[in-house]
């Protein structure tokens, strides 16, 4: 029996949803707002919510001081590259775990995820040494590899859960129809898992885009992405909030737009298989 939905309950849930939504959105709203203030207005007490002199001055300064496009391009390459590479490695891995599990598959999945519990700073030293040794410091390739590796457990996990939803019968039918492993994954599994794969790609692209620890520690100038671009506007003294906000707004804008246009796909992917 369907649960009776009273008007009162509807009002309460709607209000609660809006409250949570606004709470999550507020920091982003505040950052964008601050980027249009002067440095003095940015630290005004009481805070100014709407009525102040709107200015584009911060954007002009930021644009003048650093080459936004170069950082943006680095972010696209690093986030995109690590996601694509991760997906290519994760699809066969998730396939084998979902469809030919061994007695240890569950353990391996947990063990893989447990690497995410390790604080990143714990391996900063060895990773830095490896980077120095192989001349990877401040290279896009090095960052692609590191970000791919740190996100790989999540990619494999997500794909594994999506693949588990696909009936084995259909893959067996493909085998009976003469498909080899490559054809089975390419023509049958991947198209069926597209919603799941798409949301995995999206989520990992966002994770890689926002990743700050490794990108800040392993880059200097050449390969620095937008996270480094933002960080460069924070300074130990002086007024920098407005300019920092302008830089942040410019850094999150592409990912916000991407998220906006793909939210349908993202929601569909995240709830994939929930209903038949």
């Amino acid at each position: 029996m369907a649960r009776a939905v009273t008007t009162r309950r509807k009002v309460i849930t709607t209000a609660a949803a809006w409250a949570i939504g606004l709470l999550i959105f507020f920091p982003i709203y505040w950052t964008i707002l601050t980027s249009f203030k002067t440095e003095a207005q940015a630290i005004n007490d009481p805070p100014l919510f709407f009525f102040f002199d709107w200015t584009l001055e911060n954007y002009a300064v930021v644009q003048e001081r650093s080459d936004y496009m170069r950082f943006l391009w680095n972010s696209v390459i690093i986030a995109g590259g690590s996601t694509v590479l991760g997906i290519l490695i994760a699809i066969p891995a998730a396939w084998s775990m979902a469809f030919v599990p061994s007695r240890r598959t569950k353990d391996i999945l947990l063990w893989m995820l447990s690497t995410k519990m390790l604080p990143a700073v714990g391996v900063l030293y060895p990773i830095s040494l490896i980077f120095v040794e192989f001349n990877l410091l401040d290279t896009r390739g090095g960052l692609i590899a590191v970000l791919m590796l740190i996100n790989l457990p999540i990619i494999v996990w997500m794909l594994y859960t999506y693949f588990k939803e696909i009936p084995v019968d259909i893959l067996e039918a493909a085998r009976m129809d003469g498909a080899g492993l490559r054809e089975e994954i390419l023509y049958v599994l991947t198209p069926m898992a597209i919603p799941g794969i798409a949301s995995t790609i999206l989520l990992n692209f966002i994770l890689a885009w926002n990743e700050a620890f490794w990108t800040l520690n392993l880059t200097a100038a050449q390969a620095a992405p937008l996270t480094a671009f933002i960080a460069s506007y924070s300074s130990p003294e002086g007024l920098f909030f407005a300019k920092l906000s302008a830089a942040s707004t410019m850094a999150i804008a592409p990912i916000l737009i991407l998220g906006w246009f793909s939210q349908k796909q993202l929601v569909r992917g995240l709830t994939f298989g929930a209903v038949k």
Partner: protein, 334 residues
């Protein structure tokens, strides 16, 4: 060609033996049905032949070539699954064409064969639809179409009709039988439904706990069941099995009489009994009669005209030439 030989084929999952070493020969063009209760290993046996499961031991020969270690894609067999297992993201045309695409046939040949199969299976109007837009019967046809286009050495059917409703099942049963007559290709068909087995098979393989209880034509199994298991499993309603004093009179541990081989009379007969529930099917009536010869009620078949009231007295007489005798191990005595 489609000659399949199993030699000492064995399958274990961990410590559990699903199929103890087993021999079986399937001749080219035969319609063979594997039948048995659920969990008897019939589907596993089919999957071993398909190559979807690895054999633990023994060899599988397909057309005199050792196929034991050959992957399913290379065995040249086609399979129809219980769940149909269609590719949901492809149109009916692409579903049927998939095995041909995998075989790297040229497009003109693929189109010709797909159109041919669609014509045979009445799917021509549905070729551009997705499987999700089809009824159960149509999906089953697509699954069969996908199997026949590649002209395989043998067809494997894994309970293909169990997801269909009763009326459709009878229709599809006929269609599959007709398909076999026309193609004359080996078919191996797994079912738990002995009616399907009886009506379709050239040869029935009765399985229990992974062991072949008997192999034979439907009528051989019906007329001369090798043991009490086959006797009880083949035939509907099932054979009456009577142990004890009544069996001893025939110098057997157990005797069996089919419901259709018992005469029923209100006046005289060998066994006196009381009428229990009657099942009227129109053409036939099945009476469940409690009588002194057996602790279990006996099932008796009579024509639709016979009418007996609940609790009434009747007399039953088994036809002597149709009494099956079994020894202490349940094996047939001739």
């Amino acid at each position: 060609m489609g000659r399949i030989q199993l030699d000492q084929v064995k399958k274990t999952f961990g410590d559990v033996t699903v199929i103890p070493p087993l021999d079986l020969e399937i001749e080219d063009g035969e319609f063979v049905v594997f039948v048995g209760p659920s969990g008897c290993g019939k589907s596993t046996l089919l999957r071993l032949i398909a190559g979807l499961e690895d054999t633990t031991d023994g060899t599988i020969m397909i057309d005199d070539h050792d196929a034991t270690r050959v992957p399913p894609a290379k065995r040249g067999l086609a399979m129809v699954f219980q769940s149909y297992a269609l590719y949901p993201h492809m149109s009916v045309r692409k579903n049927i064409a998939f095995p041909l695409r995998m075989a790297k046939l040229d497009q003109a040949e693929i189109d010709r064969r797909v159109d041919g199969a669609a014509d045979v299976l009445n799917l021509t109007d549905y070729l551009d639809r997705r499987p999700g837009q089809l009824s159960g019967g149509q999906r089953q046809r697509v699954a069969i179409g996908r199997a026949i286009v590649r002209e395989p050495a043998a067809f494997l059917f894994d309970e293909p009709l169990s997801n269909l409703d009763a009326a459709l099942r009878v229709g599809m049963r006929l269609e599959i039988s007709e398909l076999h007559k026309r193609l004359a290709t080996t078919m191996i068909y797994v079912t738990h439904d002995q009616v399907e087995a009886m009506t379709m098979a050239d040869k029935i393989v009765v399985l229990q706990a992974g062991v072949i209880e008997q192999v034979g034509s439907p009528l051989e199994l019906y007329r001369r069941p090798r043991n009490t298991f086959v006797a009880g499993f083949i035939g509907s309603p099932k054979m009456n099995l009577i142990a004890g004093a009544e069996a001893a009179k025939h110098s057997a541990a157990t005797i069996g009489v089919r419901p259709e081989h018992i005469e029923i009379s209100e006046t005289e007969g060998a066994w006196k009994g009381t009428v229990g529930v009657s099942e009227h099917l129109g053409s036939d009536t099945f009476f469940h009669v409690q009588c002194e010869a057996s602790p279990e009620p006996l099932t008796v078949r009579a024509t639709g005209e016979v009418s007996l009231s609940y609790g009434g007295e009747v007399h039953l007489t088994p036809r002597p030439e149709h009494i099956h005798r079994f020894d202490g191990q349940g094996l047939r005595i001739d």
